[in-house]
Symmetry: C2
Subunit: 450 residues, 2 copies
Amino acid sequence: MRFELNKEFVEELQLAIQERSDESIKSMVSELHPADVAEILGELEPDDAHYLFNLLPSELTADAISELEEDDREELLEDLSGQEIAHAVIDHMDSDDAADIISELPEEKQDEVLSNISDIEQAGDIVDLLNYDPDTAGGLMATELISVNENMTVRNCVEEIRKQAPDVGEFFYVYVIDDQEVLKGVLPLKNLLLANDNQKIKNIVEDIISVKTDDDCEEVANIMRKYDMVSMPVVDSIGRLKGRITIDDVVDVIKDEADEDYQIMSGITGDVDSSDSVLKLTKARIPWLLIGMGGGILSSIVVKGFDSDIALHPVMASFMPMIGAMGGNVAIQSSSIIVQGLANDTLGLDSAGKKIFKEMLGALLNGAIVATLAFIYNFFANDFALSVTVSMSLIAVVLFAAVVGTALPLAFNRMKIDPAVATGPFITTINDIMGMVIYFLIGCFCYSIF
Amino acid sequence: MRFELNKEFVEELQLAIQERSDESIKSMVSELHPADVAEILGELEPDDAHYLFNLLPSELTADAISELEEDDREELLEDLSGQEIAHAVIDHMDSDDAADIISELPEEKQDEVLSNISDIEQAGDIVDLLNYDPDTAGGLMATELISVNENMTVRNCVEEIRKQAPDVGEFFYVYVIDDQEVLKGVLPLKNLLLANDNQKIKNIVEDIISVKTDDDCEEVANIMRKYDMVSMPVVDSIGRLKGRITIDDVVDVIKDEADEDYQIMSGITGDVDSSDSVLKLTKARIPWLLIGMGGGILSSIVVKGFDSDIALHPVMASFMPMIGAMGGNVAIQSSSIIVQGLANDTLGLDSAGKKIFKEMLGALLNGAIVATLAFIYNFFANDFALSVTVSMSLIAVVLFAAVVGTALPLAFNRMKIDPAVATGPFITTINDIMGMVIYFLIGCFCYSIF
């Protein structure tokens, strides 16, 4: 019973909204999954989206809103008062989603929303969550979870679950704590279901890996992925259970990190997709294009310095694109391997020096292959001085690119700058400039002796 | 109690293995998580890894082996007979991992392993799984799951779970089927735990989204991510329950797809990481470098055609790098947005023509900005003809790049070629060549009239 959004559905719904035929709108949308409703809200014009939002039950729209793209959500919430947001949205949400959405609101509105939340305990939880850095485990966790004392019996435990369950959405584990709320372990529901009623929780509890509230999100994602975990308890610095992170949020973190690295390599800043406005897309791209242009101007100054040589041997100009492309390609290859290794924590235990040496070895091998092929081509197609120039330059440029491509992301990482910045236009620009310097120096030398 | 692998640990373990002090090896490793043991096996030399493998209990090594990188695993299993692999590895595994590992073995060995599996029913399941395309839901699913008949009561159901549980690792849902084994829905363990003993399963079963055995893995991943699912039932063409896909496998699919796209964009073929050998790394890179070189040769032929113009106006050569870089950057920006949109299924409902038009609009805007800046620089730094040439070329190149960058991945996707191929060296090469053609044609024209 999967729903597939298509143009016909959107048009039919738009018509129903224009005609204000509430019953047919409801029959089209109200049985759908919140994620599908979010998709629909994203496709509608703001006014239509508002109408739909007001018509549907709050439980459904609240969940849909937390699934919505950030800019669509902002648009939708803009016209609502803090009180309306509190009652129609936040009251029906888990604490982690609620905190995320409140943190996106303008400052004054945040307080208005917080003071209007019906459940004072939930409001307290949200205020606590808002204090965590969004890129940490604390910023990612929800406070809704089932916890039981280790001294309970299985029977008490099931009663306790019955009490706590209405406040918690889906759960697969019960967290076991001691009298000081320190996390002692976990009970998969399966074990509980198969256990004897009179068994002590203490005796059937299982060990569990936990993270601290200030651990980095990306680290949490790597741990959950490595150990195939579905939910991860979060504790404070003295081990007290504070919340849990569920795999669906971690999947989003993994996907977002990957998308971000992909966009940075392709020279795009900020989270954009093809449905964004032309202006937003342009804004996300222009910074890298300006870097490329700055690099182009520097390259032009370098090349202009060899004006008279080019006038004498204009054929030298013809291999400038190859030298530039080769340096750029090798640099991106090297840096992307390092960036990926850093992100996935798979770089292994080798030192930076050893890694650079290994890259140089590989670059030398690749450089030798392309230099040989280029030499064979040029030997027949062009003069001898150019043949030597191009092949020597290729090896030099490729070596330089491998060293920069390996060293730069490692250095950035150590300086706490996102190493992904060292891929894409940034590194190709450096290599373009240095490539021209290397190429023309070698060229002038070769033409002077051959 | 998280384990962090470091150099000291590896060295200490290597020493213990060399001294054959089995007790200290066991005390170091046998309490660790299989994922940690896999990491350790990956760091050891083949002989040492073998020794450790033989020493540890099969349950632990079997799980570790399924977590190992493919090349490390091949090395480890190479020296074992089919019988040994069956008894020490496959017998302790879930059907999906078992099928994956058997499919990696050489043909003759596969049959030897299959005929030596202790549990004939498991062997049958594995043979069935091996028939599915590895990139489909059937290739990803495991057959281990808990299923109950819809006509049971909660009490019978718990008894049934007790019977089936020993064969299934972790589970959070019970799948509900009818007498024909057709999937009717799902029961979260939580509901079962809180239900009344005499309730009929039929009356408390919940709806569930399922996929078919031949659905594409990437689609399965997108669905599970969209609907925040932890496990997904897989049915055959007439709806009979065949297996389940768990989120940990989907997380790996998402991560692998993202890594693959990242590597393709950076000009690397095949799944490599920085710990691979220099030779393997070289092999993964050389194809794209050769494409780049081929493109460089074509560019050189284009530029050589303008030899006499360059000899007359050598300053024209100085802006070749900028033109090349700009075209490449814009093309990669455009194509990566499309590739990402295709992968994430977020391209929206617009037609290809509308997307290309939108990209052109954005490119025109970006092109106008860089062209203006370049004109201002050149007006003061270089002659007027060059100023006009560079700025006009920038706009033309950027437009061309936007169109190619948008159209190519869309066309590839329609032709069932991985659209990611249209990013990276491939697209920059096309733009390098066309960029030179555009630049010098405009240049010759401008120098002839100004």
